[in-house]
Subunit: 452 residues, 2 copies
């Protein structure tokens, strides 16, 4: 038995798969914040590269060609391995099989690079002169810096000031790839200067960083703002994860009974499950597809399915999604990513339609699962990815209790090299389990925008 | 063209190759420090597992079987890819080919895991109950922790106090794998307590940590001390790097004209070059084999070929090697590893016999090469590995000047995720280029031990 199933470079998919084309009920359209009418291509083109705007709105086209330069970029770190977790199975005493698709084998350390490459390529091909983005924990900023370095695209990253100070190494990697990094709020934008004037000691937030990045893009010559999750286009690019996984399973003549992934904005989960969800929707396979989220930011398990803003500053279009309210920010005690108040509209639709289920776990039990995994599988997982590990372990335990030996697949989205301070707090027993109260959630859900 | 050449798991070598068997002049034997007579198997067995002691002394056996459990461990992260540096070639305008063998795709982040797995396995198989070691920069301690976690072997690591404080993340990874880590000198050994009494503010040294690890091993029940470089057995285990590389080149019908690796104690270089040096020694191939070292610790390029102690505390056997004197410690301005005062006796013999050449570079030019490489090849190299990158770039430039298009192979031993403070000092312009003066070297070479 092979421990890892690698595809050949020639087997890297040549097309992205658009799950929306096979959804009987499509995700609700995004609405303009002013008119509350569905956004059009004309609305999106000043924000996104043309091809990306087209991908964002297209619910019908099943496949999009992956451009050759993007495929060349993917060859640097793809195909990623599908790995049999045989040592974890032994440790659990599980008689079924557990597999994971590992996306951490690249310098940026996560799956975010898959969409970064596509977004940078299209912008470059259309003559965009520079990009801006925000980053919190830093996975997206690192991935985008790496892709921009490769395609020769100038990049400005606004990094939440608290993370800028707490994760200095993220910023050094981004600088190695040539990106300009500013701690947000900064004095490089009007809105940043205003925020600093209002509160000189602010440690920033993702919402503030988004505002700065957008201002920088719209005030620079032919610049665009890009982001790394939630959007339909991002899930489309991430379908490469699921397509490779499907092909690897075909090679070994197997098919998973359960597909499990962590869920923040939904980019990794949406990509991993794409072909498996297609088979489920079409009635070809009766499988379990499970989103795992932190109890500290429980958009699926405790959120509301409603139109909401995508950002804290309420500048963006409205998306219909599971949301905790755009003002919701999980406690600083929560480590790593998966901190977003909303959820991909595609995944939200599937969850509402009962095609996808969701589970939430506390932070310390997630790090316990991460440590067990590291000891047996010899990979140090990112805290985000460890949610999927926890979900897979719990699924295996339920199978054991029922006397079943199902084949479990989960997504291991990245490495924890930049999250070791969180591992330390887990080891020292100082890690906290934050769970928002009902009152807290009711408050942040109170001011959802009105829609027709 | 494939960017990466992967072997199948079934093609992982089943035997280590012992280059000593093909050396016409063998490396000089180690000498006991008391009698100055060659060490025997009986001398080594209290220190090393029996099989490892046998491997250490055997200059005749050409191949050693890799035990099945060690091969299973290798399947977690091997075969490692041989990668065509096509983007670096383009950036340099080099018309020849550059390949690198990448050993950083594992959680420990370097090639050290190859020997760690073998050493832990043999100790476990022979009933050893625990292991001790020292670590400086932390690559070896991390690799050994990972292997000990897998094979279920308790491990105590003495980490130089300065590194313990400067690289806290290294220690958290080791703890995740279940190792006990102490900042050295510590109060857990008699010699540590004495060192602390002599100088309560000492920041420690590799020499002190070795002394503590050895004391801990000899005063514990059936424990052994292990180390990660310099020794013949370590080069033997690392031959897996070279054997895989040879097989990958056979697959694509090529053979390198130059093989380049960084050199500290010699473990990676000795492993990478093994089959290529064999072909050179046997007159089958006329190739260049080049060791690259830092100008701050120039054992090959400015050291003396003589018997010397392997440790600063002068407790170990004497080895005949290129040495800067066992009291030599490079400036703290020097980042990363490659800080050892001596050099593998095998490589020292080959260098003395003109089979191997050596070059030394300054720290800032090495980080300049590292940054160029990261931007084009999308891998963040360890500072150690970046010496080989610099050597390869300079070799390519010499070829260009001569109108040649030679095929260059270098070893990329690991990632720089834990060396980002050094990258920062390079980016900030505060990185220093330390080069020892002639007087300094003369002083540290003055007290070499007398041998018959």
């Amino acid at each position: 038995m092979n421990h890892k199933i690698y595809l050949d470079e020639n087997e890297i998919p040549t097309k992205y798969y658009n799950l929306r084309a096979d959804m009987p009920v499509k995700p609700a359209p995004m609405l303009r914040p002013d008119t509350k009418q569905p956004v059009t291509l004309a609305d999106l083109e000043p924000i996104f590269a043309r091809e990306l705007a087209r991908q964002e709105l297209d619910d019908e086209t099943r496949y999009f060609d992956i451009p050759a330069p993007v495929r060349d970029f993917y060859k640097i770190y793809r195909p990623s391995p599908l790995i049999r977790a045989d040592k974890l199975e032994q440790a659990l005493g599980y008689a079924g099989k557990i597999y994971y698709k590992y996306e951490g084998n690249n310098t940026s350390g996560s799956h975010k690079l898959n969409s970064a490459a596509a977004q940078v390529y299209y912008a470059k091909a259309e003559g965009v002169k520079s990009l801006t983005t925000e980053t919190g924990a830093g996975q997206w900023g690192t991935a985008l810096s790496e892709a921009c370095s490769y395609f020769g695209m100038p990049l400005t990253v606004y990094m939440v000031k608290a993370s800028f100070k707490q994760k200095p190494f993220r910023k050094i990697i981004m600088r190695t790839f040539g990106a300009d990094i500013f701690a947000s709020p900064s004095d490089t934008t009007a809105i940043g200067r205003k925020m600093l004037a209002d509160d000189p000691k602010t440690t920033g937030s993702l919402g503030m960083a988004i505002s700065e990045a957008i201002e920088k893009a719209v005030t620079s010559d032919n610049a665009r703002y890009v982001l790394g999750s939630v959007l339909n286009q991002v899930l489309l690019h991430q379908s490469i994860i699921g397509l490779e996984t499907e092909k690897a399973f075909q090679k070994i003549g197997e098919y998973p009974d359960a597909v499990i992934g962590c869920a923040g904005g939904g980019s990794n989960l949406g990509g991993l499950i794409a072909p498996f969800m297609r088979d489920k929707i079409k009635g070809k396979k009766a499988i379990d597809i499970i989103a795992v989220e932190p109890k500290s930011c429980p958009s699926f398990t405790r959120g509301r399915f409603a139109y909401d803003f995508c950002d804290t500053g309420n500048l963006t279009p409205l998306a219909r999604m599971y949301t905790l309210g755009s003002g919701f920010v999980p406690s600083a005690d929560h480590a790593g990513g998966l901190r977003y108040h909303g959820m991909s509209p595609v995944l939200s639709r599937l969850y509402a339609d009962g095609q996808l289920s969701a589970e939430a776990y506390k932070q310390t039990e997630v790090f316990e699962a991460a440590t067990l995994f590291a000891k047996h599988e010899q990979i140090l997982p990112a805290p985000e990815s460890a949610h999927a590990i926890k979900g897979a372990i719990e699924y295996a335990k339920r199978c054991q209790a029922a006397g079943e030996t199902k084949t479990i697949l989960f997504g291991l989205t990245g490495t924890g090299y930049f999250d070791l301070a969180a591992y330390e707090s887990y080891q020292n027993g100082t890690m906290k389990d934050y769970v928002p109260s009902d009152a807290e959630l009711a408050k942040s859900l109170k001011n959802l925008p009105q829609t027709p």
